[in-house]
């Protein structure tokens, strides 16, 4: 018989489990536990019929892409002795079995293979078990409150957003010199860090032997050589994982609810817990090749708006330990120059007017703030009213508009209402719809009150 109702204690577990998974990433307090991750990845590859991969740990998803290029692209068609030397030393240090599996080169991206295995053997199997044993009303309730909620928050708003942005960033650079495109900041702050990370990980993985061989053979030149070679090459974007990333929190939390509360029993519970342990090792994402797995640590900072979208008008909305970061306004990934130029006072009226991309213009509007935009565009006062509040206070409010009209906002002017905080005396500007001609109507339109009701007993 299916379970059709939940006890109050079982209901109370819904937000607890949902918040546990959301906070696991959103708190930015969890870092990659390499040993735990290594154990989980080896389990996952084995589960999918693959031999354990070489595992490279990086600080960011962008670092993973650079590392993937380093391993797969740089050595492609390069003097055989470099790749052969490294490969032979890796194999010698971590065992012939992996060497045999990988062969002469790192194998194909096996993300789809891992996805299918985990999906068919764990998710589909336990999902069917839940449908068999739990009533639709409870299943729907838990799915909406845990699975879909987390899915929407983490997959749609964070993981996919970051993944798309990296993809766009890298795709946009194909065909060009990446060094010039990514810029000095990347070169100085990120590449140096990532290169150090790669060196640290090669050291971790293959030990003193490879350090001695590579170090002695290639020496300090390798850094310059690799840098120069990558500078001359195009960066390729490699597909990241379907399974083994923060995007899995939704369905894992959904199943976790039923298993934790022992509402179902499954012969796949051990497998599920092994996969869950992998996610709880602080893995953000990974690129899964046959024989090589490149893993990203969690972000060190995430800033979202009330709707849960990545958003920060003042600074990056997501940051990783190696310095790679992403800028967003209301979930839209935008170029960092908006923030940099706004901070250095380089956004001029000409630059704003010349910009043809309306998303970028919207980003400039948000990052600059209402006061600076009003100053930039030269708004003029079109109406002023004095409100007599019910407590006797007098408040002067003004309606301001730009002289010019702007095609990207419907061939209207920008419009603001100016008010004064009675506690601090600070002037505030809030955007209003451009059709207003009366400052009182304009300020009331920002509240639930009609203009004739816009009078307060208490103000601060």
């Amino acid at each position: 018989m299916k379970l059709e109702t939940l006890t109050p204690a079982q209901e109370a577990k819904i937000p607890e489990i949902r918040n546990y998974w959301l906070n696991y990433i959103l708190s930015c307090q969890n870092r990659l536990d390499k040993e735990k991750a290594r154990k989980g990845i080896e389990w996952m590859y084995n589960y999918c019929g693959k031999k354990p991969p070489i595992i490279i740990f990086m600080d960011s998803p962008f670092g993973c892409q650079v590392a993937a290029n380093f391993f797969l692209k740089f050595f492609e068609n390069k003097p055989a002795n470099i790749w052969a030397n490294i490969r032979d030393n890796i194999w010698a240090n971590i065992g012939d079995n992996i060497g045999d599996n990988i062969g002469a080169n790192i194998g194909a991206n096996i993300g789809d293979n891992i996805r299918d295995n985990i999906r068919d053997n764990i998710w589909a199997n336990i999902g069917a078990n839940i449908r068999d044993n739990i009533g639709d009303n409870i299943g729907d309730n838990i799915r909406a409150n845990i699975g879909d909620n987390i899915g929407a928050n983490i997959w749609a708003n964070i993981r996919a957003n970051i993944g798309d942005n990296i993809g766009d960033n890298i795709r946009a650079n194909i065909g060009d010199n990446i060094w010039a495109n990514i810029g000095d900041n990347i070169r100085d702050n990120i590449w140096a860090n990532i290169w150090a990370n790669i060196r640290a990980n090669i050291g971790d993985n293959i030990g003193a032997n490879i350090r001695a061989n590579i170090g002695a053979n290639i020496g300090a030149n390798i850094g310059d050589n690799i840098g120069a070679n990558i500078r001359d090459n195009k960066l390729t974007h490699y597909e990241t994982s379907w399974m083994g990333c923060v995007g899995n929190y939704g369905w894992v939390a959904y199943i976790d609810y039923f298993l934790q509360l022992k509402l179902i029993h499954s012969d796949r519970e051990k497998d599920f817990n092994a996969f869950k342990d992998l996610l709880l090792s602080g893995v953000f994402d990974m690129i899964q090749f046959d024989g090589l797995c490149i893993v990203s640590d969690m972000p060190t900072k995430i800033v979202r708006n009330a709707a849960g979208r990545l958003h920060n008008p003042n600074a990056p909305s997501v940051e990783f330990k190696d310095g790679w970061c992403q800028y967003n306004i209301n979930g839209r990934a935008l170029p960092s120059w908006i923030w940099e130029k706004a901070a250095s006072g380089e956004i001029s009226k000409e630059l704003f007017l010349k910009e043809s991309n309306s998303e970028i213009k919207g980003g400039i509007y948000e990052v600059m703030g209402q006061k600076r935009m009003m100053d930039l565009l030269g708004a003029i006062e079109v109406d002023t009213r004095t409100i007599t509040h019910r407590n006797g206070d007098l408040e002067v409010v003004s309606l301001l508009k730009t002289k010019e009209r702007f095609q990207e906002i419907g061939n209207d002017p920008f419009a603001w209402v100016k008010m004064v905080c009675p506690s601090t005396g600070t002037q505030y500007l809030q955007g209003v719809e451009p059709h207003h001609t009366n400052a009182l109507d304009a300020i009331a339109s920002l509240s639930p009150f009609k203009a004739e009701e816009y009078s307060f007993d208490l103000r601060s």
């Binding site: 708006n305 213009k361 920008f414 920002l446 009078s455 307060f456």
Partner: protein
């Protein structure tokens, strides 16, 4: 309702309402608004119970009254919820609300790019 109490504290506005709307769900008291970057919050402390319905923020203030305060989160602790004692203010002065039912709103700002009203969160 004529002559109902109406107030304004920074981006938060409120008005007295006749009764708690039918179907409103009692929730654990929480800040009425949290600043995204400033660490400031608008919070109602004292003899108060919060309710939610369709995203609306409703509060029932009991006979001992409640205080609307604008504070930095670092100055706020669990013990602050039950008292109308003033906490160190962030920007805006506090208001003591008498017994009654109130609905709170967060001021909007028009975004010309999305062509939508968006809540202001300082």
């Amino acid at each position: 309702m004529q002559n109902v109490l109406r107030g304004h504290q920074g981006d938060v506005q409120f008005t007295e309402i006749k009764s708690i709307p039918t179907g409103a769900k009692k929730i654990a008291n929480k800040p009425i608004a949290l600043g995204e970057h400033s660490g400031h919050m608008h919070v109602l402390t004292g003899d108060v119970q919060m309710f939610e319905i369709e995203g609306r923020i409703i509060c029932a203030v009991g006979a001992d009254g409640a205080r609307l305060q604008h504070v930095h989160e670092s100055n706020f602790s669990e013990a602050c919820w039950k008292t109308t004692n003033e906490i160190k203010k962030a920007d805006h002065n506090s208001h003591l609300l008498p017994e009654g039912n109130y609905e709170f709103y967060i001021q909007n700002s028009y975004n010309p790019y999305s062509r939508l009203m968006e809540q202001v969160i300082d």
